[in-house]
């Protein structure tokens, strides 16, 4: 089925409901102080007013929502190859996006949209960090149609030779068997084996706020603070700490599993005329498209447990305008196995990236890391402890644990820090526990920075940073002669070839 998008279109009529809830949310956010006051001042005198005003408010919102729905139209201007959206009740806005500027078209579904049975469609361009256009309620079919038309047009405009000939129809793409689908079991494995640090941070934040809350509570005279602290301090501290650690580990695992499943449930990857279409999520289904020509950096991450389970995580960074966005825009593919990861890389790069010449960092890198993460904090700690906070000295064992833990981490991250270079790929390996390989192609590089400290000149060591449109890749304190040779080679390749970086 082909829908004609050249005429202005409205959203699905049921979309009025979405508009209604959106408007409530919007006004609720703006007016919540008034609402709170209304609730607290709820006495007989103004009860009548409030009961009278509630229906009026709802009717007003309903009318506004309906007008919003009526005035929201979108169409594709084929003559100027633009996507045009008009919206607004009193202030009318007309947004035009040139089709070839469109970077991504995402189809999403929130819980509410899922209940009503409509989909949202977001259009992203490279220009700003906000979504340029968001259509809130269209049917799935229409969304897919619009998406394919929008993306099809980009292809026609940007490269009119090869890809356009592989025309495809949407129906085909929908019914197509997913190329890779990540099973529930894989997600469980991912949940068990990743993001310990992040979840620990979340938990700590939670405990700190609860503790803070309890202390504040006790200031109101409900609990005696000393009593409360003594309760923890005395007697069964050791046993308690043991139990606490076990509980903490269990909590981390559960949070991890829960988060992974909510975020990535039913992860499916479909091939669509050379691009990859991803869709995932439990409550809100997100879908994203990855185009091989937009991919800048792919990082493959795996830790020891994940190796045993045969799963790894892919992060794909596409071209964006800013670095902050680049991090946010990284597309994650969790829990694919070795064969799937090879298949994805082959599709995006045309071949499986091989590791070539290996560059190791100088041992001074380890020294510097140790100085920064162990020596400096220790010096600070003892300075503070000896000059006025002697009770800190009781935590000697904590210091020892920290030194050993940090030492191991720094040693492993030094040992894993490598730069592999071959004709077509540059791979940077890093990480202590989660070992990640960032893969870039030399022709994606935008600029090269080399850097050398003046006392490293005679040692012939230095650093390099490769800037791409999806973020930077850096390697520190390697053989500077080699680094400069490769920089010259990459510059030569960038300058002699017309290959498109995007």
């Amino acid at each position: 089925m082909k829908v004609d998008f050249s005429q202005p279109q409205r959203q699905s009529s049921i979309g009025v409901l979405i508009m209604f809830f959106d408007t409530i949310q919007e006004y609720g956010r703006a007016l919540w102080p008034l609402i709170v006051i209304g609730i607290f001042k709820f006495d007989d005198a103004n009860r009548l007013y409030i009961f009278l005003s509630i229906p009026i408010i709802f009717i007003t919102i309903g009318i506004i929502a309906y007008l919003k729905y009526r005035n929201f139209t979108f169409f594709i201007d084929n003559e100027n190859s633009e996507f045009v959206v008009t919206e607004g009740v009193f202030n009318k806005t007309r947004t035009t996006i040139q089709l070839h500027k469109i970077q991504q078209v995402n189809i999403k579904q929130s819980l509410l949209q899922r209940i009503i049975g409509v989909h949202a469609l977001d259009v992203d361009t490279a220009g700003t960090n906000d979504k340029e256009v968001s259509i809130k309620a269209v049917s799935h079919e229409l969304a897919l149609n619009l998406k394919s038309v929008l993306l099809d047009n980009i292809r026609k405009v940007s490269e009119n030779e090869t890809v356009a000939s592989e025309s495809f129809d949407v129906q085909n793409a929908i019914s197509e068997q997913p190329f890779i689908s990540i099973s529930f079991l894989s997600l469980l494995k991912v949940g068990i084996t990743s993001n310990y640090i992040r979840s620990l941070g979340l938990l700590l934040a939670f405990f700190v706020t609860t503790y803070d809350y309890i202390i504040r509570f006790s200031n109101h005279g409900i609990i005696n603070e000393d009593q409360f602290i003594n309760y923890f301090d005395k007697g069964f501290v050791m046993r308690f700490v043991g139990i606490l650690i076990v509980l903490l580990l269990a909590a981390i695992l559960i949070i991890n599993i829960f988060r992974t499943i909510v975020k990535f449930f039913n992860y499916q990857i479909t091939k669509q005329s050379g691009s990859l279409l991803l869709s995932f999520g439990l409550f809100a289904t997100k879908s994203t498209i990855i185009k091989p020509e937009k991919v800048q950096i792919i990082s493959v991450t795996q830790n020891y447990f994940q190796k045993k389970f045969d799963i790894l995580e892919l992060k794909i960074k596409q071209a964006t305008s800013g670095e902050k966005e680049a991090r946010k825009q990284a597309i994650e593919i969790p829990g694919c196995n070795k064969n799937e990861h090879i298949a994805i890389l082959k599709l995006l790069f045309g071949e499986m990236p091989g590791k070539g010449f290996m560059l190791k960092p100088n041992f001074r890198k380890l020294g510097f890391a140790v100085f920064l993460t162990i020596v400096l904090p220790l010096v600070l700690f003892y300075l503070v402890a000896l000059n006025g906070a002697p009770n800190l000295l009781e935590y000697h064992y904590g210091v020892a644990v920290y030194v050993v833990f940090m030492g191991i981490i720094q040693y492993f991250s030094f040992r894993n820090n490598r730069l592999f270079i071959n004709d077509r790929f540059i791979i940077k390996q890093s990480g202590a526990w989660d070992i990640s390989n960032e893969i870039i192609e030399p022709h994606r590089i935008q600029a090269i920075t080399t850097s050398q400290l003046f006392w490293h000149k005679s040692l012939n060591i230095g650093s390099i940073t490769l800037h791409t449109a999806g973020g930077n890749v850096g390697f520190q304190l390697g053989n500077f002669e080699k680094i400069r040779n490769y920089a010259n080679l990459w510059l030569y390749e960038m300058e002699t070839s017309d290959s498109n970086w995007m």
């Binding site: 800013g322 600029a447 850097s451 940073t465 800037h467 010259n488 080679l489 030569y492 960038m494 300058e495």
Partner: protein, 171 residues
């Protein structure tokens, strides 16, 4: 296509970016830096002066404070001079280079076919000194942009023309 060849590159024969002679910044830029520093020092000295006049406790450390401020200013001056001396730029046939850094020497290279746009910037004081700043932007985010300060205005305009020409040719 007829002239297409694909010979092995002798990597040792490639042009080397580290051997490029860099053009130093215009001497007037040092004057500009001095003016900026002078204003900064003036503000600092005024703050210190007010502190000494209105706070009785500070008077006890009067000389320590003055010596510390003087040493600080001297250090800033020396480092600014080193930074000025180390900054340099070069335009090759296919790319632009900029070198900077006091402790570390950073060299950034941007090929012309990766340049997104070029901007020419004139400050209030720098206009009186006949200087301009050239900013070269790529798609790689702020860390991969080049800012070359302290170029003579006419030269800066020429450079901008040159860059625009190079970009146009790439397209």
């Amino acid at each position: 296509m007829e002239n297409f060849t694909n010979e092995t590159i002798d990597t040792t024969q490639l042009p080397r970016f580290e051997e490029v002679p860099f053009t130093p910044l215009h001497p007037n830029y040092w004057k500009l830096t001095l003016i900026h520093l002078f204003v900064l020092f003036l503000i600092l000295a005024t703050a210190l002066g007010f502190g000494l006049v209105f706070n009785d406790e500070l008077i006890l450390y009067q000389w320590n404070l003055i010596v510390a401020a003087a040493v600080l200013m001297l250090l800033v001056l020396i480092f600014s001079r080193i930074a000025f001396r180390k900054k340099g730029f070069a335009f090759r046939n296919h790319d632009v280079l900029f070198r900077s850094g006091i402790i570390a020497t950073n060299t950034i290279v941007i090929p012309y076919n990766r340049v997104q746009h070029v901007a020419l910037h004139e400050g209030f004081i720098s206009r009186y000194l006949g200087l301009a700043k050239i900013e070269i932007f790529t798609a790689g985010g702020s860390s991969s942009d080049i800012e070359i300060p302290g170029i003579e205005k006419i030269q800066a305009k020429n450079i901008k023309q040159l860059l625009m020409g190079k970009i146009q040719k790439q397209l």
